[in-house]
């Protein structure tokens, strides 16, 4: 796991308050109610602060960033 991966896992765990995301990185975060739309916004703000990656709220469909692995991929595309 790279530094970047680890940081993103930490962010998601922090925002959602659920640690299981570190183990199951393909878990559907919205289906499992780990993230809601509010937490998703917090994540976007955190990604901007942490990595300078800005993603507009309507830029991605929910199924493009509904797992930890997909979030990592979206950040990497933009770095």
């Amino acid at each position: 796991m790279s530094d970047l991966d680890e940081k993103i896992v930490e962010l998601v765990a922090d925002i959602s308050g659920e640690d299981e995301v570190a183990e199951e990185r393909d878990l559907d975060l919205f289906e499992e109610r780990i993230l809601d739309s509010m937490a998703a916004i917090e994540l976007l703000v955190a990604l901007k602060e942490e990595f300078g990656v800005s993603i507009a709220p309507t830029e991605l469909e929910r199924d493009e960033m509904n797992t930890v692995n997909k979030i990592i991929a979206r950040v990497k595309e933009r770095l």
């Binding site: 739309s37 509010m38 937490a39 916004i41 917090e42 976007l44 703000v45 901007k48 602060e49 507009a56 709220p57 309507t58 830029e59």
Partner: protein, 388 residues
């Protein structure tokens, strides 16, 4: 001519769909035809009122100019782009805001049918142009998007990017046929909702209270059937609009998805007038939250969300009209959503029991009571009588 109501509309829809179907099956592009059909239908919509027609035409052209201006600013990376974008946004919203305030004082204040819905569409284009998501929508696509007749008067609120994707694609016969069949199905279903479901609810709304007599039970019955009427009427024309859109090769977003199975008020808004609630979520709630979180305006995320919900729903209320009924309706749903959110986020009791059957049953009953009381507010059965 009123859309989805007068017989003339349904008579005209038959040849419009028949020509679209013939072209679609022949794998010919539908966009130009769809645009011409839409403009012709808008002429018929407004022909009794030349002032409205002129206003709508000016609105279309003015909006196009605003969009081109904003796009140019960001293309050129103009240093004043962000502040001028805010000016453009204010100008885009101004006609609707002026109209909503104007009708409070003068019911005949100049506006045009559909001004509420077209504003959502034009604002979405400006915001997403600023976000860099819209870079190549041309003038034809823009005007077709705003004037698309199936959704012009009353939604569902469409989004420009999926619309433009559909406009640019000429689907193969099988794909088009699938849309045509689905479209006809939705249209028939919507017509049944409106002309059977809604008509029955209206009849019951009159009959049951007069039969039971007692004023409290009569009031409850009126509100119950009013709520059903609201659903069948609105879901009915939304489904017809969706069906008509599909036959023209355009996927129109779904507006209602079994709202009465919701077990909390958040779910209700994920199922009721969805194109409005998702629009407000994306362009008001999320933007506001982003702004508030980045600047740490509130001590916690829960408070940020609660303020966001209040703002969102109060805007929804006044968008329907600046009257005591609608203002209280918006406030009411803002409080419900904020309360629901706070409870679900912080209650250990909720986290422990939320998946259990009895909890869901109680939650469903409470949600329905809250929803129907909301309809009573919306329909003017609470605030207006209290104010006399």
């Amino acid at each position: 001519m009123d859309f989805f109501a007068e017989p003339a509309f349904f008579v005209l829809v038959v040849p419009i769909v028949a020509i679209a179907a013939a072209m679609g099956i022949a794998e010919r592009p539908l966009a130009r035809y769809g645009c011409v059909a839409s403009l012709a239908m808008l002429l018929l919509l407004f022909f009794r009122s030349p002032a409205s027609l002129a206003y709508a035409a000016c609105y279309l052209v003015g909006s196009l100019l605003l969009y081109r201006w904003v796009r140019g600013l960001f293309e050129r990376k103009d240093p004043r782009a962000v502040s001028l974008y805010r000016v453009a946004l204010a100008l885009q919203i101004a006609p609707l805001a002026i109209y909503k305030v104007g009708v409070v004082f003068n019911p005949d204040f100049l506006g045009f049918l559909g001004i509420s819905y077209i504003t959502f569409k034009a604002v979405q284009v400006l915001i997403e142009t600023r976000d860099g998501l819209i870079t190549d929508m041309n003038a034809f696509e823009y005007l077709y998007f705003l004037s698309f007749f199936p959704t012009f008067t009353s939604g569902p609120i469409m989004r420009s990017r999926p619309f433009v994707n559909d406009v640019r694609a000429t689907p193969e016969r099988d794909v088009y046929l699938d849309r045509l069949y689905r479209g006809i199905g939705w249209f028939v279903m919507g017509a049944a909702y409106k002309f059977v479901g809604s008509a029955l609810a209206q009849w019951a709304m009159w009959f049951v209270p007069s039969a039971v007599g007692s004023s409290a039970i009569g009031w409850l019955a009126t509100v119950f059937f009013y709520g059903l009427d609201l659903f069948f009427d609105f879901a009915g024309y939304s489904d017809m609009a969706m069906g008509l859109g599909l036959t023209m090769g355009i996927e129109v977003p779904r507006n209602f998805h079994m709202p009465f199975v919701a077990t909390d008020i958040k779910q209700f808004w994920d199922r009721w007038h969805m194109s409005l609630s998702t629009w407000l979520r994306d362009f008001v709630f999320m933007r506001f939250s982003q702004f508030a979180i980045a600047r740490k305006l509130f001590p916690s995320r829960h408070i940020t969300a609660c303020v966001g919900f209040m703002l969102n729903m109060m805007l929804m209320g006044v968008w329907h009209g600046i009257t005591p009924d609608y203002v209280v309706y918006g406030l009411y749903h803002g409080i419900l959503l904020a309360g629901c959110h706070y409870f679900q986020q912080t209650s250990k009791f909720y986290k422990k029991h939320r998946r259990e059957g009895w909890f869901q049953a109680v939650s469903w009953v409470l949600t329905m009571v809250a929803v129907f009381f909301g309809f009573a507010l919306f329909g003017g059965y609470v605030v207006s009588p209290l104010l006399g």
